[in-house]
């Protein structure tokens, strides 16, 4: 197992490096430069040129990349132009916020998605199945940014049950209930689409599994139906659902961009959107690298879990 994980991690390195090259050159191709962004309305060509020189942006692109890479190998992610702050500090701070949000959403969508899928498969063609199917379809057909706005409108503005934005209350807060209160709306919004995807997939996987011979065996043994479903069928269905949860992690991380914008969650998605607009090259590099690494790790984790469940893959 350890050697498998090590091998997968090694294989991820070229992917991540390739990614940084892509990011570097895409950022270079975007018109406008960080100096303009820093100087704002007062960016004259003269000022811009001077500032670019100060920031080391006048060097050839390839050279800039290798300087960055060299620093990275020493653990130095560089300094954000726009925030005047070490990239790593900002990225880690933002990423932990995203991790809380996306992690909650992921747990939420995994549990709800699996539950809905299992129930809907077991009650196939029944009312429960139809309702779940319809709700799931509604979920994957709603634009998440729109849903977020509606939830704010209803729960924060009209009912005033939950805070409209942010991660912590300004006063008093700082404890777990405070965080949870702020999490409910954005995490649910973020989880909706992924829940739908997972539920649909679970339903199909369950239906397929329930037709398998080993389910008949379990029934022939005289096991209670509950045990047949919850133990035998669910575990087998998980094998095909878990990699999809891994892929959904990517979508949840991606979808977090909208949600963080709508809910003012201080996460890495909204940071990256802003960093792209301010041409904050090193911040974009650092942010994308961390997000991509998280995605890779998450998929690896999904594969490891899958391997743990399914001995045939060992």
């Amino acid at each position: 197992m350890a050697s498998y994980i090590a091998k997968r991690l090694l294989a991820a390195i070229p992917v991540l490096l390739g990614l940084t090259v892509i990011v570097f050159f895409i950022m270079a191709m975007i018109p406008g430069d960080p100096a303009t962004a820093i100087l704002g309305t007062y960016a004259t060509p003269e000022n811009v040129e001077k500032l670019n020189r100060d920031l080391g942006l006048d060097k050839p692109l390839v050279q800039q990349y290798f300087i960055w890479l060299g620093n990275l190998l020493h653990g130095d992610f560089g300094r954000s132009f726009a925030l005047n702050r070490p990239v790593l500090d900002e990225v880690l701070e933002r990423f932990s916020a995203t991790l809380i949000l996306a992690g909650t959403a992921l747990v939420l969508c995994s549990i709800l998605g699996l539950l809905a899928g299992v129930v809907s498969a077991v009650r196939q063609f029944g009312w429960t199945d139809r309702i779940v199917t319809l709700v799931v379809l509604v979920g994957i057909s709603t634009p998440s940014f729109f849903l977020g706005l509606l939830l704010i409108l209803v729960f924060a503005v009209k009912l005033q049950w939950l805070p409209a934005s942010g991660m912590w209350a300004i006063y008093g807060g700082g404890d777990l209930p405070d965080l949870l209160r702020h999490l409910i709306l954005p995490a649910s919004t973020l989880a909706v689409v992924a829940t739908g995807v997972i539920a649909r997939l679970t339903r199909t996987a369950m239906l397929e599994v329930l037709r398998q011979d080993f389910i008949r065996t379990a029934r022939a043994k005289g096991l209670p139906e509950r045990k047949v479903i919850m133990k035998h069928a669910v575990k087998a269905a998980l094998v095909s659902v878990i990699p999809v949860i891994g892929i959904q992690a990517g979508f949840v991380l991606g979808g977090a961009v909208y949600i963080e914008t709508v809910f003012q969650w201080p996460g890495i998605g909204s940071m990256l959107v802003k960093a792209i607009s301010t041409r904050d090259l090193l911040l974009v590099q650092g942010g994308v690298l961390v997000v991509a690494a998280a995605y890779v790790l998450f998929n690896l984790a999904a594969d490891v879990v899958q391997t743990m469940i399914d001995p045939r893959l060992r």
Partner: protein, 519 residues
């Protein structure tokens, strides 16, 4: 199962019940900002959003008198100006200390200006200092004695005093800069009414009462600035009680605050101009008649009253009326007259050539640029112009507009907020201010008479004489129509009714020194 359910219900009710208490405590003011500050080093920032914090943490040698754009003493108790207008000597206030405990004195003033202006200063690398051109006339800063400082200018420069009251003129603690270096922007120290306490990235900046403030400690114990970039979210926070003050309220939301006794709406016109830069070098706008036609074509009244919901006034010329002494009252805005516009187009022989219009999606002072751009496009289409809109995100937009419109576009949205009638025309209307010469005249306007008037106006230290020159300039520029003059913004803010003594300033600064919130 039942027990788990009961526990869940209990936990939920706890969460919801606490949610109702998102009220802010007395004597602590929570301000909804439109963005995270870039830095708290006053010499490095350009955004009004950042000024709103800095003006309460720092003082300059002079400041704007409450409710005006006239300067009054601040850290300097008095000053004298040499007859030729090139030497300014300031007497400093005695006994003022920076928040870090070090003394404010003439050496500190010299440090501040040298840091910005002298490329060889050891702390020049704490920049960049984008507004350093405010003091480009300064040749030397000399310490006469610990409480006397002297500025020598290379030429008479009338806006100098006003510029000293603006953000790049705020005094930072030399000791703190020396200790923090590049990180000073996140660990600031000034002399202002509030001391920096905490900056939690992307969440809040907290400043607390400076008990030793030379002008009397402020009533508020603390001010918390929260960056909320999304206007809707900002409104939602205001409505749900998480904010005490919210600035830049979207026009359409003002009404619901006006109609509610729990809130107060504050408005204040300021020196702001929203205009369209026209490309005079090529294309249809090279012809003055077409430029005037564009000015006649826009229904500016509908723009400010409907789209901006009365949060702005129709602009007449290049100088906003907030600069009362320099404003030409005789100037009437171009009326809305599509027939005349059509006639002018016909006279100019406009043949339906396509016009590219740069629109941005946000940005400092840009009001509602997409809606405005769309409405303007429709007005121009109505007189037969063929307008093609291209929308760019603010920084890309600046990257395209500031180097000049030549070869790219025929018109572009723009807005400026300034502190002196000199700034905008000097930087954006002179022949010497074309982009290739380091200015912001992106539409390539050039009129020797205007150049002369502007150069003379900044040399004179006599306000009456300056006023005459500016007023003449406005008449010429309006007639030449290098821009389409659209609107002057009335800044607005909403406060909870419990906030007392809050005023907006024409300078667009947010001054909280006298504000209180007893409950």
């Amino acid at each position: 199962m039942k027990r788990i359910l009961a526990a869940a219900v209990a936990a939920l009710s706890l969460m919801f019940s606490q949610a109702a208490f998102s009220q802010t405590p007395p004597n602590v003011l929570v301000v909804g900002q439109i963005a995270e500050p870039k830095s708290m080093d006053p010499a490095t920032v350009t955004a009004v959003n950042d000024f709103r914090i800095l003006m309460n943490v720092y003082d300059g040698l002079v400041r704007y008198k409450d409710g005006t754009l006239e300067v009054e003493p601040s850290l300097a108790e008095s000053w004298t100006i040499s007859d030729d207008g090139t030497v300014y000597t300031f007497k400093l206030r005695d006994g003022v200390k920076f928040h870090d405990g070090t003394d404010f004195n003439a050496e500190a003033v010299k440090f501040n200006f040298d840091r910005i202006l002298d490329e060889n200063h050891p702390f020049h690398d704490t920049g960049p200092f984008p507004l350093s051109f405010y003091f480009s006339a300064v040749e030397d800063v000399n310490v006469v004695d610990p409480l006397t400082i002297e500025f020598r200018l290379d030429a008479p420069y009338a806006p100098f005093l006003s510029n000293l009251a603006y953000t790049p003129g705020l005094m930072v603690s030399p000791a703190a800069v020396e200790a923090q270096g590049k990180d000073f922007g996140r660990n600031p120290s000034g002399t202002g009414a509030f001391k920096f306490a905490e900056w939690e990235a992307n969440s809040k900046v907290v400043v607390v009462r400076n008990e030793e403030y030379w002008d009397g400690a402020p009533p508020l114990e603390a001010v918390i600035y929260r960056p909320i970039t999304d206007a809707n979210t900002r409104i939602a926070e205001m409505l749900s009680g998480g904010l005490d003050i919210m600035v830049e309220v979207p026009p359409d939301s003002l009404a619901q605050f006006r109609d509610n006794d729990s809130y107060k709406v504050v408005e204040q016109a300021g020196p702001h101009l929203w205009f369209l830069i026209l490309n005079l070098k090529e294309g249809p706008f090279a012809d003055k008649k077409v430029r005037q036609a564009a000015n006649y074509a826009l229904n500016k009244k509908a723009l400010v009253e409907n789209i901006l919901q009365g949060t702005a006034q129709v602009a007449a010329g290049p100088t906003p009326p907030a600069f009362a002494w320099a404003y030409n009252d005789a100037l009437e805005p171009y009326p809305y007259d599509p027939e005349k516009a059509k006639a002018l187009l016909a006279e100019a022989g406009y043949d339906g050539e396509e016009v590219t219009f740069y629109v941005t999606d946000g940005g400092s002072g840009m009001l509602d640029p997409v809606a405005m751009g769309t409405a303007i496009q429709a007005d121009l289409e109505a007189i037969g112009m063929n307008v093609n809109v291209e929308t760019y995100e603010w920084n890309t937009f600046l990257g395209k507009v500031n180097p000049g419109l030549e070869g790219k576009a025929d018109m572009a949205e723009m807005a400026w907020m300034t502190n002196d009638p000199d700034t905008l025309p000097f930087l954006a209307l002179r022949s010497e201010a074309w982009p290739d010469k380091g200015g912001f005249n992106s539409g390539y306007y050039s009129n020797p008479k205007v150049d002369e008037l502007l150069n003379n106006a900044r040399k004179s230290t006599d306000q009456a004489e300056r006023a005459k020159l500016y007023q003449e300039m406005q008449t010429i520029v309006q007639e030449d129509a290098p821009w389409v003059f659209v609107a002057n913004w009335k800044q607005n803010a909403v406060t909870k009714s419990s906030v007392e003594d809050f005023k907006l300033q024409p300078s667009f600064f947010l001054m909280l020194q006298k504000v209180s919130k007893p409950q």
